[in-house]
Point group: C2
Chain length 206, copies 2
């Protein structure tokens, strides 16, 4: 993108991350930690391959992204990770927009990792840490109580989760957010195995 050429923080930030697709690429790396070119493409339905290549070059030059040891794998630098606050602010602002259902929009299970990170809280941080495995149709996610009242959220599978939640994203998210009871969630095809108490520790926070 052309620079705005304004001595203003917002304008300079947008000079770096204001291009189409750029913040969505950052989202993918925030979710996954690191990702290969084709993993990025998978998580960014609709992006043209030349644009992805372009953007990765720009992000690398800007110092937000670097290549991991395995060269063909990208990851955020600390400067890039600092964008999590920006992505979180946009995500919070967007939450009213998510009440309108997916409609024809593409859905990818791993996109729910960031909202979970942002909104889930642990009611009993002093209790023994708990791990919950979430199995969405196309993605496995691990939730872990962090000990400080927060909950970490990442793609992947845990060795011995305290509980496992299986189902479609809307049902699982409804249950986790407290908008659905376990009974209602089950009616929407959500299955819970393991220790239900681990689930009840979780709540929606600021």
């Amino acid at each position: 993108m052309r620079s705005y050429r304004q001595y203003c923080g917002l304008a300079r930030a947008l000079d770096v991350v204001g291009d189409r697709w750029t913040l969505l690429i950052v989202r993918e790396l925030l979710i996954r930690g690191s990702a290969s070119y084709s993993e990025l493409q998978q998580g960014l339905p609709g992006i043209a391959t030349n644009l992805l290549a372009d953007r990765m070059r720009q992000l690398e030059r800007a110092g937000l992204v670097e290549r991991a040891e395995s060269q063909a794998v990208f990851r955020l630098t600390s400067r890039g990770q600092a964008l999590e606050d920006v992505v979180a602010a946009l995500g919070r602002w967007a939450s009213p927009l998510m009440r309108e259902s997916a409609g024809k929009d593409v859905v990818r299970g791993h996109w729910f990792v960031l909202p979970m990170r942002l909104y889930l809280r642990d009611r009993t941080p002093d209790a023994k840490p708990a791990t919950i495995q979430v199995e969405l149709p196309d993605q496995a996610i691990v939730l872990r109580t962090a000990g400080d009242g927060g909950v970490t959220s990442n793609v992947g599978r845990a060795a011995a989760p305290d509980a496992t939640l299986t189902g479609a994203a809307t049902g699982v998210m409804g249950l986790l957010s407290g908008k659905l009871t376990l009974r209602q969630a089950r009616a929407r095809g959500v299955k819970l195995t393991g220790n239900a108490a681990a689930l009840q520790r979780l709540t929606i926070g600021a």
Copy 2:
């Protein structure tokens, strides 16, 4: 802009505010409260007139901007004002980028209103409220202690300020942020009249 068509909060937020110029228009309205078409043009050097008209229509349709009684004046709706958190997050992230000086970038005094709002704190919130008039070369700004430890910042002039600070943006900002002493700021052309104690209440906060 074309929609990303992704059921993801970030993507839906960017569908609304991800267009070029859109967030800078929001910045202008956050700073000024309300503004006419030509005031917006003045605060957005480089924007093409057709783009500004386009963007204002989009923002109005999206419910972020409305016209004031005087029809020809725009202002943010509450939904639009809620973007202040997003703009603040981007501004914080950009602060390392502002260490590189303006160079050939355009500077407008009123752009400093938002950083002041974001960073300035009142050391003695229980003392009697204080008002400081800032006179930048092209813009007058009023700082007022808010009573809760914060400081409000707006364009305009106060009736009877406790102190007045006159000079170039860099010098004034350096003094307010504590990076320059009064002595150093004076050497850079900053002039202080009135009660210097009002100034010493201010400090840089989180």
